[in-house]
């Protein structure tokens, strides 16, 4: 029965990982930009939830509604004003740009919030839910469900809406999309905005479980990276499967090899996938 509990823990973690990776994967796939800022956006979203709760009494789950439009606007403006200027440059140059922006943002957060780890504690706590032999804290469970809902919403936006189809079209063939009348620059900015939105909205969810500090930004970024490779780049179902897979692997890895090796295991997994199935678990032709 221990395995069942570990599996449940892994899926809860994995649901959150999906949400982290979906936006990162979207931006990478559509813009060919590796957004190093992604981790810091998550942390910033976490701080928004923390201070919103501590200072203003806004429930962390409700703060997602504030974070979403805020981060979308931030991402849109950043892409329109800055990143679009070098979108045609090789991927390493845009990576350097977002790396530089990330240095600025994470250091600004260090200056503003210090490197102290802060933990968001709900008062009163939401308690735990016992499903037979499996016991789950309710706050984690709700956070995971919200994370999966957000990821699902992104998937529906991309597959069902007009702007979503335009994003996918630009990802597959920028020039052909332009011939359909798609304003590619605008689509880029919207895509980057959606990526930032996903990061900013997953911040409050992660803050329910993990302590918040500017130092955790690179950790989340690393996870997003592994998941993208694991699930296949640029597809939301890929991020979802990759996220859940990573969560489960880390959970069992912690059990079998000790929690200190969980991260090592995820990067070993990354190397194995790169060797065996470089297109990712859900890689698909035309998405290369």
């Amino acid at each position: 029965m221990l395995y069942l509990q570990i599996l449940a823990n892994g899926l809860v973690l994995g649901g959150l990982y999906s949400c982290i990776a979906a936006g990162f994967s979207l931006v990478w796939g559509v813009l060919n930009v590796i957004n190093i800022l992604h981790g810091s956006f998550i942390v910033l979203g976490g701080y928004l939830a923390f201070f919103g709760y501590v200072k203003l009494g806004i429930h962390p789950f409700a703060s997602i509604l504030i974070a979403a439009p805020l981060f979308f606007a931030l991402g849109y403006a950043l892409q329109r004003g800055l990143i679009n200027r070098m979108i045609a440059a090789p991927v390493l140059l845009t990576l350097t740009l977002t790396f530089g922006l990330d240095l600025m943002l994470s250091n600004a957060m260090l200056a503003a919030f210090t490197a102290d780890f802060r933990k968001l504690l709900l008062d009163p706590p939401l308690g735990i839910l016992a499903l037979g032999p499996v016991v789950l804290p309710v706050d984690r469970l709700v956070a995971m469900l919200l994370a999966l809902a957000l990821t699902g919403l992104l998937y529906l936006t991309l597959s069902r809406s007009r702007i979503g189809r335009a994003i996918v079209a630009v990802r597959m063939d920028r020039e052909a999309a332009a011939l359909m009348g798609v304003n590619v620059k605008n689509v880029y900015a919207i895509t980057f905005g959606l990526g930032a939105l996903m990061a900013g909205a997953s911040g409050p969810l992660l803050a329910m479980i993990f302590p918040i500090s500017p130092l955790t930004g690179p950790v989340y970024l690393g996870k997003a990276f592994v998941i993208c490779v694991l699930g296949g780049l640029g597809s939301v179902p890929g991020a979802m499967i990759g996220g859940l897979a990573l969560g489960v692997v880390e959970s069992f890895g912690a059990l079998w090899f000790g929690p200190e090796h969980a991260t090592t295991l995820s990067f070993v997994l990354l190397i194995v996938i790169l060797l065996v199935r470089p297109e990712g678990l859900l890689g698909r032709k035309g998405y290369s």
Binding site: A166, A169, A176, A178, L179, G181, V182, R284, K285
Partner: protein
């Protein structure tokens, strides 16, 4: 001759340091099918790309139905009524056939009902696309992909359809079928400018032809005139 729909005058264009078009003049009368022929590297595709706004003009003008479209964005060119079916078809490979067609209607603002009706029209015109509508466009045969690409262009409700390399890589029976479809569309009032490497097919389809060579239009006239021109016969049709 009918009134001019598309008028390209003295057009210069190219890529980076390479200039491809050197003062191209070309006209498409309203309601006609016009073909553009010429050897590889003559600049046919570049001309199409300059007309639809994918690359800027370095000189000269593109006029369309009284509007100046010189250096217009592809978005503006399409909104004005020019749809471009690009060389190699360029379908969205991992998108369903249906979604590809909906992308063609991206700029339209006349409502879901009108788009759905046009989708139905495309399925009536190319029944195979109805069967394949849920399938990834990239998994279809070349002929089916060309049908999808043409239908995608038509979904934008253009007045002028540009088709770059209609028959390239397709079986003769499919080419005949496509030509019949284009003739039918033309009878309904659509003007068409088609780039075609098979000169016999091109002259058969079009009423008027332009011949390009090294970035310039070197010859133009009615298809009948060009078919009887000894130089054209020698160069493109094989001497008989």
């Amino acid at each position: 001759m009918a009134e001019t729909l598309l008028k390209v005058a003295g057009l210069h264009a190219g890529y980076g340091d390479v200039q491809v078009l050197w003062g191209v003049n070309l006209e498409v009368p309203r309601g006609e099918i016009v073909c553009l022929v010429g050897s590889n590297g003559a600049g046919k595709t570049t001309l199409m790309r300059a007309i639809s706004g994918l690359i800027p003009a370095r000189g000269g003008t593109v006029g369309f139905a009284g509007e100046n479209l010189t250096n217009a964005s592809p978005e503006r060119a399409l909104a004005a009524g020019i749809a471009h079916v690009p060389e190699g078809r360029r379908l969205f490979a991992a998108m369903s056939v249906r979604d590809n067609l909906l992308m063609g209607a991206y700029l339209r603002r006349d409502g879901a009902q009108a788009v759905a009706e046009d989708l139905e029209r495309m399925f009536a015109m190319f029944p195979i696309l109805r069967q394949r509508q849920g399938q990834d466009a990239g998994t279809m045969s070349g002929g089916e992909q060309q049908m999808c690409a043409i239908a995608r262009g038509l979904m934008g409700r253009p007045r002028l359809l540009l088709i770059d390399e209609l028959s390239l890589g397709l079986a003769p029976a499919i080419v005949d079928q496509l030509c019949d479809t284009l003739r039918a569309l033309n009878r309904e009032g659509l003007s068409i400018l088609v780039v075609e490497q098979d000169v016999a097919t091109a002259l058969d389809l079009a009423s008027h032809a332009f011949v390009m060579d090294t970035g310039r239009v070197t010859r133009s006239g009615s298809s009948a005139e060009l078919r009887d021109d000894p130089a054209i016969r020698e160069a493109y049709l094989g001497s008989i």
